[in-house]
């Protein structure tokens, strides 16, 4: 009996907090369907008059916010970036954990040192490098710098050194090649960690703001995240309904990816660096 009462209290509390957490998102979605004047004056969540005009405006070819292009840019750089980072990190972590890499100790020491250095230290010099090589406003600085992240190598390396070697040794004795071992023994074992790294990397690139704001200038090269920032800072954009329509377009893909990858994401957060 007492247990049941306690359950009801906890569930009620959880529901109230859930409402608080969802309210900004619900407000965002409903506001995107309000008319401009209603979005400025309304004190209700639901629109009195529903309109698709905000979405028609942002998707119109004459809009100064080329949202479809931003979505396309974001898709290109997040997909290429994530694949690159995961592939590079798996190969590096595997060779460091299992093979005779020359200077292994120095490499691992440097990786750990790099993990402790705050990102701000390399941010502006990296910008200056890309500027000197005339690579600003291209996809190159939007993708390649993420490959220097040491977190992924460290994550997979840590996993591999605590993963038993028996299976690999057996495969070796059976005459399997290095590549066969990697494909049939190592890949299946590290799949959860690799997916985890993929999700973290995807979210990181998708949501990055400061770095893209330094290296991208032209409207056509912007990512969705950067585009939203431009809309916020644009002096004539005093239109909550239009703003929220753009925000919905920027937010829904991230939430969908998040919900699909939720299981792995939960694991990734709980595994990252704690143990």
């Amino acid at each position: 009996m007492r247990r049941k009462q306690k359950n009801i209290i906890v569930v009620t509390l959880a529901v109230l907090i859930a409402i608080l957490f969802l309210l900004p998102l619900v407000w965002m979605i409903f506001t995107s369907f309000k008319t401009l004047s209603e979005s400025m004056s309304s004190s209700a969540i639901l629109p009195k008059v529903w309109t698709l005009q905000n979405y028609i405006n942002i998707f119109s070819p004459t809009s100064d916010a080329p949202i479809l292009l931003w979505v396309f840019n974001t898709a290109v750089i997040t997909i290429i970036g994530t694949v690159l980072v995961v592939a590079i990190d798996i190969l590096a972590a595997y060779s460091l954990a299992r093979l005779q890499v020359p200077g292994k100790k120095i490499i691992i020491g440097t990786i750990i040192f790099a993990l402790t250095v705050p990102g701000i230290v390399t941010l502006f010099p990296a910008f200056y490098m890309f500027k000197s090589f005339n690579l600003l406003d291209t996809f190159i600085p939007l993708v390649l710098p993420y490959t220097a992240s040491t977190m992924g190598v460290f994550l997979i390396y840590n996993f591999l050194i605590s993963f038993p070697k028996d299976l690999e040794e057996a495969a070796y004795l059976d005459g399997a090649s290095q590549m066969q071992i990697l494909r049939h023994v190592i890949f299946p074992a590290i799949k959860p960690v690799a997916v985890t790294l993929g999700v973290i990397t995807f979210m990181g690139i998708y949501n990055d703001y400061l770095w893209p704001s330094l290296v991208i200038n032209s409207n056509e090269m912007k990512t969705m995240t950067l585009g939203i920032a431009t809309l916020i800072q644009g002096s004539n954009f005093v239109n909550p309904a239009g703003m929220m329509a753009a925000t919905v377009v920027a937010t829904i893909p991230a939430i969908v990816v998040f919900l699909v990858a939720n299981k792995y994401f939960v694991k990734s957060v709980t595994n990252s660096g704690i143990k």
Partner: protein
Amino acid sequence: MHKGTSTKTWAFLMVSPFILCFILFWLAPMLLGVWVSLHNWNLSSGNNGFIGLQNYVDILTPGSLYNEAFMLALKNTLVFVVISVPPLVIIALGLALILDHLPAKLKPVFRTIYFVSYSISVTAVSAIFLWLFNENGGFINNLLVSMGILGKPINWLSEQPYAWVSVLIATVWWTIGFNMMLFINALDEVDPSLYEAADLDGANGFKKFIYITLPQIKHVAFFIIIMTVIASFNLYGQSRLITAGGPEQSTTTLTMSIQNTVFSMNQLGVGSSMAILMGIIMLLVTAAQYFMSYRKKEVN
């Protein structure tokens, strides 16, 4: 082929893409940053000569232009660290405890709801809270005025302390799910037999929390505090977009100040020195926290 190519060659081939990327996009910028910080280096005209530690001296000498900008930004950043870390840690722990006591079927649902905002970009979060808190036409003012709670709208975004409140609420909403997940994991790791023993001794929920849960999760809690301090030190997007660094630069953070120095004042050298100083301060704060907890561990 598997006998033809030696293991060492494979090892070298596999590790080299990462090493190359690391050198190009981390090591080179890192060294360049240190090098630039020792020069009078303009963003547009480039290197104007070696000046040793002069940039650092300028930033640290009271009264200079750069010193004022850096110190104000440092103060603002520390204010945000102080006001944001306690709620980001304590509320996260509270959420994890609530989830822990929910019936098993409901756990994943609420965990996802509390965590989903973390997947949204900082610019989208800023757009939402900018229009929730906006003085004219913002939803919260509309609501409070129409309910008669406020006589006239509050200037949430350009008056203190409301500006910090707005940035803080947006930050808590955006990032708290991450800390909560770490706490959930820590709570899952606590040995259930400890609670069973406490039950036999007739301990109540509060006592179990103080004497079992807290000591068992203190290492994770410490890790979360450090991560949160670092994240709060890096405050940028929310204050740039929600309050635009104002009012009167009171929400201009270190990152924003360095960016202004590099881009508006054209001083890449001074900006690089500021970035390195900010990095050193962050490392010192982290190290201090680490040693404090380490010493406590020794005493216990």
